[in-house]
Symmetry: C2
Subunit: 254 residues, 2 copies
């Protein structure tokens, strides 16, 4: 399981500062939606320039103009972008077209989707590399929010998924047991007094601890679309010195 | 009926150039979602600085962190922001809280909402100043798209609404007949060889043509929420010289 830090800060400087602290312990660095709206694509470019060996995730939450928005972010340096699961299929297809052009990937964020299991399967067919089982910041603050429901939906869908919403040291083992490919931690890292220590503590012992194989390939399999070539996004990762994994290649289509 | 130009360009320079051409003929200047994601809030600030007498509409399409995102845009100079109708109620309530603090307004964009009539009524209760009956750029390109369906939903909902998707000189009379408060034109203006002439042609003769009253108040009534003070957003507008209306005051809560 990979660890993703969601940088829900609102300035590029704060993002660069946070990324510098936590990069050794995370696989995917996410620029949160408010950060992108506050600073624009230059924030994506700045983070990718500072961390060329990390997967940079632009949480665009695209609802329309899928190809245009995805193209802007990939051109700026993003490796993965999000489209909303509540968006129409043509928006997702447009973003996937841009991803194919750039050799990058689209993640579909299922925030606000009523039937997450069905939509997860649909958008995987459309070419999403994985879906994000996601309870938003506002939703997490509502009474009745439950991480268990999200995990159950991820397990039931049987497609590659990440989990965002309530990931902490107390819950990360359950996230891994449910089969998530990626655990997304936001406040548990950026809200900590020592974000580096918080990220290190979240890193799952069975995933990328020092001592693992010195080099290996990590692939995200997008289910074959009937009218489309199968897409498999992979990157090669190596463990350097005592540091947790550093990915030395960016996403590529196999 | 007001005329809103949706600036679906991706650089602040292009937005400022377009706004300068069309400002005399429009009431509301919209920074499109891709523009905001490309350039950040500095684009909002630049457009408001260049057109302080216009209503500046930041099409944030917020899906989460409603209060934070709305606050960023209002602080940058926006008068109106959008939240998605597919967002949870707590996200809309958060954005409305930010609007109340700043004396500005929230518009709920119904793109992607299956039952637009019901959701329109719900979000108006939550404090939206109006809803946007909206077919996205991707949806308009799909077979079967019909402006008539959108207009019918607006009429049926019986709450203040704008219409976005397919507004042109050929359709704007039907938009006005359906009772829209605002007609949103994008490609019909920015895609025209002469955007100023296109905007002038779209201006409805019965709305803000020269010769109207020299000063008047334009209000958007948000239906009273049971647990909230009634909110009425108004601005005073004057007609100067031969120019169509220029609004001289920004939104304020009555
Ligand atoms: Mg995020
Ligand atoms: Mg727009």
């Amino acid at each position: 399981m990979k660890l993703q830090v969601a940088m829900d800060v609102v300035t590029t400087d704060a993002a660069l500062e946070l990324a510098a602290k936590v990069a050794p312990y995370v696989d995917i660095i996410e620029l949160g939606t408010p950060l992108i709206k506050a600073e624009g694509m230059r924030a994506v470019t700045a983070v990718k320039a500072a961390h060329p060996d990390k997967t940079v995730f632009a949480d665009l939450k695209t609802m329309d103009a899928g190809e245009l928005e995805a193209d802007l972010a990939f051109t700026a340096g993003a490796d993965l972008v999000t489209v909303l699961g509540t968006a129409g299929d043509s928006t997702i297809i447009g973003a996937v077209a841009a991803a194919t052009k750039h050799g990058k990937g689209v993640v579909v964020d299922l925030i606000g989707v009523a039937d997450k299991v069905t939509r997860a399967r649909e958008v995987t067919e459309l070419g999403a590399v994985f879906v994000e089982m996601h309870a938003g910041l506002d939703e997490q603050a509502e009474p009745g929010f439950s991480l268990a429901t999200l995990l159950n939906q991820g397990e039931t869908a049987r497609v590659p998924f990440s989990l965002a919403g309530g990931v902490s040291v107390a819950t990360i083992a359950s996230v891994q047991r449910a089969g998530a490919r990626v655990a997304v931690a936001g406040g548990a890292i950026y809200g900590a007094e020592d974000p580096a220590a918080a990220a290190a503590a979240l890193r799952s012992p069975s995933s990328d601890a020092p001592g693992g194989p010195p080099s290996r390939q990590f692939c995200l399999n997008a289910k074959k679309h009937p009218r489309r070539k199968a897409r498999v996004l992979c990157r090669v990762e190596r463990v350097r010195g005592g540091q947790p994994s550093s990915s030395l290649a960016s996403w590529s289509t196999e």
